[in-house]
Symmetry: C2
Amino acid sequence: MPARTTRSPLLSITLDRHGAASLQEQLYDRIREAILNGRLKPGSRLPASRVLASELGVSRNTILGGFERLHSEGYIEGHMGAATQVSMVLPEDLLSARNRAAVHSHDTIPAGKISNLSERMGGFASHRADNSGRAFRPSLPDLREFPFQLWSRTIAKFWRNPPPDLLTSGDYAGYPPLRRSIAGYLGAVRGLNCTPEQIIITSGAQQALDLIARTVVDPGNDVWVENPGYDGLSSTLVAAGATLHHIPVDEQGLSVKYGCKVAPDAVLAAVTPSHQYPLGITMSLARRLELLDWATRQRAWILEDDYDSEFRYGGKPLSALQGLDKTAQVIYVGTFSKVLFPALRLGYMVVPDALIEPVLRLRRAIDDYPALALQPALHSFIDGGQFAAHIRRLRGLYARRQSVLVEALQNSSHGLLSAQPSEAGMHLIASLAPELGLSDVEASIRAARVGLVAQPLSGFYGAGGVKTEGLVLGYAGLNEREIEQNVKLLLTAMLAKN
Amino acid sequence: MPARTTRSPLLSITLDRHGAASLQEQLYDRIREAILNGRLKPGSRLPASRVLASELGVSRNTILGGFERLHSEGYIEGHMGAATQVSMVLPEDLLSARNRAAVHSHDTIPAGKISNLSERMGGFASHRADNSGRAFRPSLPDLREFPFQLWSRTIAKFWRNPPPDLLTSGDYAGYPPLRRSIAGYLGAVRGLNCTPEQIIITSGAQQALDLIARTVVDPGNDVWVENPGYDGLSSTLVAAGATLHHIPVDEQGLSVKYGCKVAPDAVLAAVTPSHQYPLGITMSLARRLELLDWATRQRAWILEDDYDSEFRYGGKPLSALQGLDKTAQVIYVGTFSKVLFPALRLGYMVVPDALIEPVLRLRRAIDDYPALALQPALHSFIDGGQFAAHIRRLRGLYARRQSVLVEALQNSSHGLLSAQPSEAGMHLIASLAPELGLSDVEASIRAARVGLVAQPLSGFYGAGGVKTEGLVLGYAGLNEREIEQNVKLLLTAMLAKN
């Protein structure tokens, strides 16, 4: 029996013979990733197709097919065969936020062993666009609206004279007064049913995902993720050894039926019921009950990622899935990155009672307890009412900005780009008219050439299957004038002669 | 073939049939842990020995032997058999920093699956004493000496007007100016050979340990740890699936010969060469070269935990092991918890070039990037010279405090407790004279009764093998008068009629 995976040391890519996607598709995905994250640099030569075919133990047609697609999308250039190289014209701006260090270390061979986990993560270099363009990065708040004077006074007040006990040790679950504030807020605003003891403060939502994954998933366990979905969640689950199943999202949310068909024994289903990322769908009540019912029957966990629920502009707000959970199977994750700012790195999770101890004993081992740093200031901010006032203010601003984006697309694109309004969130999906003759990846590359970040929707899908195309356009961080100007710029880029 | 591990659901403990320690010893260790961390509460009944023997599939003599030892050390009381219970007189103060949440959740049954990793961590509940006593907690800095006015001004200055780009994204390795400061400091003061690109800021040293463990250790890989050593390191390695080998420390440091005998194929050796924790030994140059030579031959990694190197009072300071490393196999870990304060939760590691990318891609998946929070203030503190001035000042203070502790033990204990001076660190090991007639665990319990933290040295050893007894006495956080007073209190407790 051949090994399940096959690896090319020349390209540092690994294919999975039993994967859901075809080998050709996997080859395409891996090479595209390596180009986007900068591991394969513009102008660097790819191995000859027959060399690669022999190295990977696949047919040469598989290689040529993958190359053909990369070629047609502009990632590689040159004739098929020995002279194929990574495109020189690939705009630098589309390359991800790789840092000098990673580039610096690229050619070094480790002196000792690297874990299989680390090798697995090789496919997950970040696709995150770099910092240079603010328009139209999704999930980016408008920092010009943040009350920094008040914030710095609150921080300084605490740090002038902090209680010594707080400096020498900490609660593994985080600063208790902040946990009380969060429990109060979630109960009142999001309909959660929780005590402060169930709140665990984390270093952004990302650490919450890691703690959950390692507490409930064993290597090889099946896990459901949404398709399309958030790459940052998938990488965390893969780091815990999960076998991911990309479950399609329909107009009601994640398809529980599909999940039951392909992976009935999943131990965890990760969902974004309030505002599906990135499609923006709100999971219907019927689907929520169906999901909870599945979890109860299967004794599985549900991870509810409520990443931007603060920004709901219309419609009847559905309370969190966690509030419907009668069997203590929902683990709720929230973040302050969207309302305040991402570099705050403060998130939280709400775990069922029975998970508190397992999560905290892992936490002790992996980072002890969260930094005191800005927790007391955030607590004051919430309890003093400034947090709620800030959300209300942003909600009004962002709602108007969304309308401005929808109208600007309508008014200036002559139907080439169009977006439906959404009842929530910080981004919209713009559809590309067929007349444009551009794939979403091509459109994204063109946008990057003029300094715009317009992530291709197809990039949010797992390998294989049908992918809807579109551009993910964040609007929250831009004022109305900036939105109008940048929509014009985007259209110019789409229509430019290449 | 029987399963490798056997588990008692009644007591929630797991024994390893192939473990280095005997089953009786493991039983003793697990129950003692459960009592110390509060999982087994004072007065709670233990299962009858014959029930437990049948549940675990071991002989009743094994159970009785373990109970006997727990009984003789005061952990349990009552007659052997059905009436055995956890001692009521076990002082609350010795119980670890468990929180309400953990207690609250103790009796709940999880609705879904818990990972094997999480189950494994069950044996690693923290032994950390709670906050109530400052004397003689090890590694506790004197916060009365910290310049909070200056600190809060530095923090507020940054947060009044932070550069927006810093708030919306971050370098996966941490705030670049801080990394430059640290690289400069380590090169000048600790003889490290590193660039800023090799510095990765972490949430305390603990997160560095987790990142290293997951990047270079696969489940089942052998790893050397020092015996005695730091429990917090062992727990992190176990969380990564490592098979730990407790390697004895002799007067020159970790015994490389012993390691080669019991686990020649180890992928990682974790050491504290500057100031062995907790024994205080400085690893000799000959032993350092022997360890590096082994790593080169074996292509293994060395984790150098330089947890309190800032406090060296005499002798010729040996530069870090990392500075001697010619083959890029040493991973250096440092922390600001000791010089500044633990709740800062800022540590760092210095990794060989070839590990930068593997560590950072894991970091992205498990917590994205470190919080900006206090990194800019710390950077200003180091570059402005306040950090070095603070260390110089503390070094003078702590050196005097160590002398005061040695003398106070000499003058007031009549030889019952004695400690040798050490050239470095924030704690000493006090030996117990045989005339006292107390084990170090008993002595520690007596100390806790009067509100003192005096951790038993035997608790720092892996199961099995010879354990040296003694009390670990931290002195850095106490002024001279407090040291003298608390030494008197400690002696009174030792001599009290029980």
